[in-house]
């Protein structure tokens, strides 16, 4: 494996995070965050409960926050912040001219505990039949 282009710099303004693909095999999903002092490439989901960080991630300064349960990390030091209990896994990333290049040897993934699923029977899969309540 080697450095592979994932997107152009202009696609990810500072203070944002975007899901991109490394064109290796069937494609490897990666989230690239542009923080105050550079870029970080990580798996595209939060290590807490698999939230897609492109939708739920918020980059402010050097900090990435998953807005669902406030797990946060310093993207420069990778230090855990706020509610975070697990570290981010990272790919090496560099700027090459106008392009962002990521070094991918294998797909990085987190392990999720399915037993922690909530009581779906009780709370979810409703039928939008609550108009009368309001």
């Amino acid at each position: 494996m080697a450095w592979t282009k994932v997107c152009e710099k202009s696609e990810i303004p500072e203070g944002s995070i975007k899901k991109v693909w490394a064109r290796i095999g069937g494609g490897i999903p990666i989230a690239v965050a542009h923080h105050k002092n550079g870029y970080v490439a990580i798996p595209p989901v939060c290590p807490h409960l698999e939230e897609p960080l492109e939708d739920s991630g918020m980059v402010t300064g050097c900090k990435l926050t998953c807005t669902k349960h406030l797990w946060s990390w310093d993207l420069e030091t990778l230090e855990l912040k706020d509610e975070a209990e697990l570290p981010l896994k990272t790919y090496d990333i560099k700027v090459d001219g106008d392009n962002l290049m990521v070094y991918v040897t294998e797909q990085l993934e987190y392990t999720f505990d399915e037993d922690e699923d909530i009581d779906e029977e009780t709370f979810f899969d409703g039928d939008d039949d609550y108009d009368d309540i309001w």
């Binding site: 739920s56 918020m58 807005t67 669902k68 999720f112 909530i118 709370f123 409703g126 609550y130 309001w134």
Partner: protein, 362 residues
């Protein structure tokens, strides 16, 4: 309940819920200013803050400057385009447009931007203050504490945290001084116009190290160590804890920013020693460095982060039914039913009807 994963967040709840869009959409915020804050009675300050002839106290309601003035002992409230001071004496009100005002419920100064209000303050609050009326209306009160906080959160999230009690587990003080059968048996009592009471119970203050029983200096006619709350629509909270009383007044500054004014009250007839006791009791829990208040502010700031504009829309569950006891979300459901009626929207999907309403108004 375990936290929701992404799959759960996207599912349609089978219990009552509201959309997070209620908290972060700018059009909704504008509609709230126009259809709620420009219409309701607002407790803008306390009479003791303007006790001398000529004293005035100003605030902003729905982006308009408003000033309350003491004229020979009577309170008059005016729209005041150019005021730049929170308080003072000797303001000329010549040419200013006077608003309706009343002094009611423990000496609060109430006003409304509605030029022809259909309800008096008494009719608007419709019984929500009855539970503490004997305590706050028997003796004159006065403000001994004032501070304000600007928080990056929606104003309703502050009112929510004053109305719902999941967050009580966040407070170490509540856990050690209150958690007993009586605490959990308290009732949420809805009143018309979206107001809610939280009924009382006996707080065991001495269970918290360094705190003392508050029975001796209870407010008039209040049994020892009782704790009542009045949550007034759309964002005003009145909180009576034994020997100290607090009010929170919100001024929404944007979908994700709110100014909250905190006041602490004692009785005008307090001796210096009694006042010191009340101030200590107030500040130890509700002061900026007190035991509970900052925990609430951190909590709602976090909620503001989770639901700020641009975040993925999700459903906020209001589905707990527990015979109206303290963790029953009846108060939240009651509030959002009133909120939806004011805006003409369904809180489950507020944007669906909002655009139609705006177009119809135009």
């Amino acid at each position: 309940m375990a936290p929701r994963n992404h799959k759960n967040w996207l599912k349609t709840p089978k219990v009552e819920y509201i959309s997070s869009e209620c908290y972060n959409n700018y059009s909704i915020f504008e509609q709230e200013i126009e259809h709620i804050f420009s219409k309701v009675w607002v407790p803008m300050c306390h009479i003791s803050e303007m006790s001398n002839d000529g004293d005035f106290r100003s605030t902003q309601i729905a982006n308009k400057n408003v000033v309350a003035v003491n004229r020979g002992g009577d309170v008059h409230v005016f729209l005041c385009p150019s005021i730049d001071r929170p308080a003072g004496n000797g303001l000329s009100t010549d040419g200013l447009h006077e608003l309706h005002s009343e002094v009611k419920h423990g000496g609060m100064v109430w006003t409304t931007l509605d030029l022809n209000p259909s309800l008096s303050v008494e009719e608007w609050t419709c019984g929500a203050f009855d539970c503490i009326a004997d305590a706050i209306d028997t003796e004159e009160m006065e403000v001994f504490h004032y501070h304000k906080a600007v928080i990056d959160t929606n104003y309703k999230l502050w009112h929510d945290t004053n109305s719902e009690f999941y967050h009580d587990f966040m407070h170490y003080f509540n856990r050690v001084s209150g958690f007993n059968d009586e605490y959990f048996a308290r009732k949420n009592i809805p009143f018309d116009n979206g107001h809610v009471n939280v009924s009382s119970f006996t707080v065991n203050y001495e269970e918290y190290e360094g705190f003392e029983d508050r029975g001796e200096l209870s407010f008039p006619n209040l049994p020892p160590n009782q704790w009542y709350m009045v949550d007034l629509f759309p964002g005003y909270n009145f909180n009576l804890r034994g020997n100290a009383y607090r009010s929170d007044i919100v001024t929404p500054l944007g979908p994700n920013r709110v100014l909250i004014e905190f006041r602490g009250y004692g009785l005008k007839k307090d001796t210096a020693e009694e006042r010191a006791t009340r101030v200590k009791a107030h500040n130890s829990i509700w002061g900026p460095f007190g035991r509970n208040l900052h925990e609430d502010l951190i909590g709602v700031a976090g909620q503001g982060t989770t639901m700020r504009e641009g975040t993925e829309t999700r459903n906020i569950l209001h589905g707990r039914h527990e015979n109206s006891t303290i963790h029953d979300e009846v108060g939240m459901r009651h509030y959002y039913e009133a909120w939806g009626k004011f805006l003409g929207v369904n809180p489950m999907n507020p944007l669906a009807l909002l655009e139609d309403n705006v177009q119809a108004a135009e």
